[in-house]
Subunit: 246 residues, 2 copies
């Protein structure tokens, strides 16, 4: 399993992803699912992946190699895209390219072409945006009404985000909420696990403010988990018992 | 959708179920999903249902009419079962009976025989037990290691239970946690909704201590939702912002 969330607030973007993968229940590994593409001053882009690892890795490699542009005869890469919208379309094209290569063979093996992405960032000083890209290469955009998107095992960590994130949330508060959301998910699903990769980019900064791996035992995250547990226990205790039937 | 949870602690049993059903997204109704069978002094039993409403209602009606017992020539009902285990087996037989009647026709209509149950209670002063019954009529039992079971849309409300419920939890605290879990689920999934049915039975009491419907706007539940939200906001605020990258 996987859990990734992307949060887009007024001040900027937060992307968080776990690193646990499993092929069946007994083959568990650590793979990076948050990929950062950065050219300071030009673009900062973060792509997080869920689903079949062979597909998502092939999409990443395809983006790195570039896709043929029949009109120009050149390669389209994230570095040639002039806007977030075009960059997102390029990721979608890479997904369809991988589908064309492996989709039929996967179907023959009774495997779904199962992959999804969060893709956020800013290109050439344009609008900072966050998208969710589906297996068909189509995508939706995060808006200020619901300023976060999730892929993978999203349900355990959604209540935390539903309650805490608005478009006006401070960037570091958004990161904190994302980490609490990740903690809730890891507690309820063993398929989501440490370490956690974090990308934070402030709007118009032109480069990442934070590109960080939270390892197991990292003091702040450990403290956050303890404090959150204690606060939830205290919240429970502070609510009176139901008066029903008395 | 549906959300039901059953909690079995040392002091007794709590069962909570929402009442929202939908056929498609635009046909939303209210139906009772928590069914209580009580003969004070003999048994108190609660059966909550998730899945296809026509199947779960047919199972309830089958239990009310009784199932033929080829050995005795009589009808087996919940009132003739001498233990929780036999009562649970009877529910399983009722599920298979309904499957025999409609399973093939559902398959022809490309519909899965989708149903599951939580079934808890106490019979004849025997052990108080809680089971989850599957569509094949097989079942698992709740144990003190993880003293709750859930059916339906279970993920949103699981972190709350994971953190708050142990076998030693007070019965009214278990009810409170179950209601918070229901609140979390309702906030994140519109397919789960008010009113909420609640059954609470104290071990060896021989009858339900509480058999109650929480209507929208009921003061305690309204207050619980407000307090829980406020406590979560306070918990968020009390945790320091991440020091990363500073």
């Amino acid at each position: 399993m996987t859990y990734c969330c992307g949060i887009l607030v007024r001040d900027g973007l937060v992307m968080i992803a776990d690193t646990r993968t499993n092929a069946g229940l007994d083959n568990v590994s650590t793979f990076r699912k948050l990929h950062v593409f950065e050219e300071p001053g030009r673009h900062v882009l973060a792509l997080s992946t869920a689903g079949n690892l062979s597909i998502s890795q092939a999409v990443i490699s395809t983006l790195q190699e570039g896709l043929d542009n029949p009109e120009t005869g050149l390669k389209d890469t994230l570095s040639t895209c002039t806007s977030m919208f075009r960059a997102t379309q390029l990721v979608g094209r890479a997904v369809r390219h991988v589908y064309d290569l492996y989709g039929e063979a996967l179907k023959d093996a009774d495997l779904r072409f199962d992959v999804s992405f969060l893709f956020g960032g800013q290109v050439n000083g344009g609008r900072m945006r966050l998208f969710m890209i589906y297996a068909a290469g189509n995508f939706i955009e995060c808006t200020s009404d619901t300023p976060f998107l999730q892929i993978g095992e999203h349900k355990y960590g959604k209540p935390v985000l539903d309650r805490s994130i608005t478009f006006e949330t401070d960037l570091y508060d958004a990161l904190k909420s994302g980490l609490i959301s990740m903690d809730s998910t890891m507690r309820s699903n063993l398929g989501v696990g440490m370490p956690i990769d974090v990308l934070m980019a402030r709007r118009d900064a032109g480069q990442a403010e934070l590109n960080f791996r939270v390892e197991a035992g990292e003091p702040y995250f450990h403290d956050l988990r303890e404090r959150w547990s204690a606060a939830l226990r205290a919240a429970h205790t502070s609510i009176p018992r139901p008066p029903y039937g008395r």
